[in-house]
Amino acid sequence: MSRISRRKFVEGTGAGIVASAVPLKAQQSDTLSPGSAAGKRIQVTVNGALKKLEVEDRWTLVELLRDHLDLTGAKIGCDRGECGACTVLLDGKPVYSCSQLAVWADGRSVETVEGLARDGRLDPLQEAFIEHDGPQCGFCTSGQLMSARALLNRNGNPTADEVRAAMAGNICRCSNYNRYVESVLAAAKSSAAAAGAGRSGRKA
């Protein structure tokens, strides 16, 4: 038993269940020392703006966003693809940005919570989250918003069950699930009502 290494300990618990996500960074940092870490030039469109960046191979997308682009709206709740606090849209699809490498975003487009409000107006989802008290502690909120945005982009009139299914990957430990579902349904309704009347909403 004395042969159990720390690595085994870190990877052991629960990690077997999400084996692909957990040891990603650890394995890479075995072969890369700081300063000399292999890098790559990439081009990413972040919230509509084209960014030319030099990134290390081992950086995850959430690391790039939070540590290097100062977009801290996406949170790291687990760093292993379980909680959804880091959800962003990659080419319009919701992904766990902790489980994507930054280099994989090359040539693609990323949307984060910071890009939801457009032209100084809040997204109807943001409006509804305020009115229906979506966030309690708020740590999962950015992820919930992005999953909800992806849903409404493909289905403007979801049922409550469709909302739950689309957001099942976003854990809220304050367990404010009722409020989040309520918010998304309200946003869908208000968006439908506003359709054709031009975008409205409160100032961001």
Binding site: F9, T72, K75, E82, T112, D133, G138, F139, M167, I171
Partner: protein
């Protein structure tokens, strides 16, 4: 109940815009110039002596700036274990996950790599996981002096409460019921992992913490690092949840400070999700042996509990198993043994002593109802508490209304089956209920309110916002007390250099204690304004309140009754909650919008505790097996039913506008309500939490 101007009206959080735009800054979002990143090396053994630590290879890694171990750091974490000394780094290590060393480096990857280069030679020691086993002669000794954790007086004795004479009570009973129950170690699993940033400027330390109480965190960091309190500043505003596990100062605050001192640079220490799950603390696992005496007419004569709580190797919480006080009963005896084990440490998780105790108690009460052919609602109305511990009058009590009106809203008569398990077909429905109470003390807290010539009221309160909407609640109370619109209130919060003492977001006390201080400060300020007029130009008027109210001869409690209907698929053991009503007496509700969210959340957490969550250990190796959200199967959108919330607003003469406590009562009866509903559906009782599919199939087999 009279209508007020601001208090009692549903109000969106005053900081909601920041929360939905990603602009709310949490501790982990902060970056200081020259900041280093830290990682912790942890014991792979449940119990071992460290024979040798060699950090030379780690030290040689470019980018590594500081390494601390038990050999060069003797800081005692005073909030960790007040009975036995708990150091930041202990030798021997006493659970799989105990801290062995911490490293600060230029970036996280280097810090992580450096922890792997530290060589540690362990001498594994025998270990024990089960609290009852740990008390047996010959069990491995985890702390000097034995495994029964000493009480506050330092005695090695269980915690005992007695009223009347238990033997007499059991003799007076027509029937005596006896059974035992267990509850699991579960994790708080707040979304924000623990994180701290420590920054020294000369001998002055600033800690950007993730805490449930900046004031207590501040004095405790000063105490543990032996600094004068005025040399320490703690900042925490937005905070990503804690549910009891970020009270007080934390070992990671101290580790970051020690590393930052050694490195001569600010240090950010982030725990990984797995560290958060197994290396800090969760709810204590319990074993409960109940004996209850009852007369044929359903009157209780005796309640006896012998319980064991597994505290992990360091005592941090009470280990209590509570709930008996919700029943009126002349003869009561409760004996609880808080025991050291080599599992993860146990301490506070929402309503610390209650949900597991109420689960055991209300399960057996439910069995008694069926045996006596009494409706569980009628049984509880007959036996519910009227005075605290049958002795002290309550300031107000809405429990009867919680039960009656809750049952009505739930349509209890329609959903509950007198004959459990009688539904036809493989998918069976059933209903259950349970009740609870939680103390709603008043006590010390402070507030300072300034008013400027623009008529803006700056309310300084030492609150953080852990999700309870504390900031908004304080603003509503201030607006009410000052008689001004909410927009005129500016809350200054979450910084010990700018805010006076506040009790902290623990024990569900911010509204009742700091809220009361706001009322008092507003009163004082209004008196000044009446005397001097509103300030002009650059002048301000300022008022301070440091109240410490108490209510001699009375007990102040919140009350709650929850009702659950479940559907159990008896072929696969799956449980779905199909209807849920939560009726709460928390006095006057300050903000019905956010308060309702809290109830929905607390009840849902309880459903997770009832059905899913457990930190499982491998008995042979002492290793935790199910750390993390997948492993613990924390509820998701798909598992969460609609929670209907019913407010029973009793008039209470104390607290801010009669507000009583709320956050913790929300989870107290939910576990038992679900458990009782499962029994009503299938006619078999699962006595061990969580009530998982395999256990349901087991009792049905």
């Amino acid at each position: 109940m009279n209508t007020l101007q601001s208090v009692g009206h549903p109000s969106a959080r005053i900081d909601a815009l920041q929360r939905v735009t990603g602009k709310a800054i949490y501790t982990g979002d902060r970056k200081l110039p020259g900041m280093l990143y830290a990682r912790v090396l942890r014991s792979p053994h449940p119990h071992a002596r460290i024979k040798r630590i060699d950090v030379s290879k780690a030290q040689a890694l470019p980018g590594v700036k500081a390494i601390v171990t038990h050999e060069n750091c003797d800081v005692v974490w005073g909030s960790g274990d007040t009975r036995n000394k708990r150091y930041l780094f202990n030798n021997p290590v006493r659970f799989a996950g105990d801290a062995v060393a911490a490293v600060a480096a230029a970036d996280r990857h280097t810090a992580e790599e450096a922890t792997r280069l530290i060589e540690v030679e362990y001498e594994p020691l025998p270990f024990v996981l089960d609290p009852e086993e740990a008390l047996k002669p010959g069990a491995p000794e985890i702390q000097p002096g034995g495994n029964l954790s000493p009480n506050n007086q330092g005695q090695r004795a269980p915690e005992v409460y007695r009223r009347g004479n238990i033997e007499e009570g059991l003799r007076n009973a027509s029937r005596v019921f006896e059974d035992h129950y267990t509850s699991a170690h579960i994790n708080n699993a707040q979304l924000e992992p623990r994180v701290s940033i420590a920054h020294w400027e000369g001998d002055h330390l600033t800690v950007y913490a993730s805490t449930q109480g900046i004031s207590n965190c501040h004095t405790e960091i000063a105490r543990d690092l032996k600094l004068p309190p005025e040399k320490v500043r703690v900042i925490c505003q937005f905070m990503g949840g804690g549910f009891g596990n970020k009270n007080q100062d934390q070992d990671f605050d101290l580790m970051a400070a020690v590393l930052a001192k050694q490195a001569g640079a600010p240090v950010k220490l982030e725990f990984t999700r797995k560290e958060d799950f197994v290396c800090v603390h969760g709810r204590w696992p319990t074993k409960q042996y109940y004996k209850i005496g009852v007369r044929d007419d359903g009157t209780l004569t005796a309640i006896q509990l012998r319980g064991y709580s597994g505290m992990g190797p360091y005592r941090k919480g009470t280990g209590g198993i509570a709930g008996i006080e919700i029943y009126q009963c002349p003869h009561v005896e409760r004996t609880v043994y808080p025991v050291y084990t080599n599992m993860a440490v146990s301490a506070n998780l929402r309503g610390p002593d209650y949900p597991q105790g109420v689960f055991g108690l209300e399960s057996l009460m439910d069995d008694i109802c069926y045996s006596l052919k009494m409706d569980p609602v009628e049984f509880r109305l007959k036996n519910m508490t009227r005075k605290f511990n049958d002795q002290v009058p309550y300031t107000s009590i809405g429990l009867e209304d919680c039960i009656r009106k809750g049952a009505e809203a739930f349509e209890w008569k329609k959903r509950w089956r007198p004959e459990p398990g009688s539904a036809a077909g493989p998918v069976k429905r059933g209903a259950g209920m349970a009740m609870g109470s939680f103390f709603s003390n008043l006590g010390r807290s402070s507030a300072v309110i300034d008013v400027d010539s623009q008529g803006v009221y700056h309310v300084h309160v030492g609150v953080t916002d852990i999700g309870t909407a504390a900031k908004t609640t304080m603003a509503l109370i201030a607006a009410e007390a000052l008689g001004v619109p909410l927009e005129k209130i500016d809350i200054i919060w979450g910084d010990t250099d700018r805010c006076p003492y506040s009790v902290g977001e623990s024990g569900s006390r911010t509204t009742t204690q700091t809220g009361w201080a706001v009322v008092e400060a507003a009163k004082a300020l209004k008196a000044q304004i009446a005397e001097k007029g509103m300030p002009q130009g650059k002048d301000i008027l300022s008022a301070t309140a440091n109240p410490n109210p108490s209510i001699p001869g009375k007990a102040r409690y919140s009350f709650v009754a929850h009702f659950a209907e479940v559907e159990v698929d008896t072929e696969v053991g799956h449980v779905r909650v199909t209807k849920y009503v939560a009726a709460h007496d928390s006095g006057r509700v300050v903000n019905p919008l956010t308060a309702t969210s809290q109830v929905k959340g607390g009840a849902t957490m309880g459903i997770g505790m009832a059905l899913h969550e457990e930190l499982l250990y491998d008995r042979a190796s002492g290793q935790p097996l199910t750390a993390g959200y997948y492993g613990a199967r924390v509820l998701t959108h798909r598992d969460a039913p609609d929670i209907e919330v019913l407010w029973i607003e009793t008039e209470d003469a104390y607290g801010p506008y009669g507000a009583k406590t709320l956050g913790e009562p929300t989870i107290i009866p939910s576990v038992a309500a679900v458990a009782n509903a499962i029994y009503n559906a299938i006619g078999k009782r699962v006595k061990d939490l969580p009530i998982t599919r395999d256990k349901i199939l087991g009792v049905l087999a």
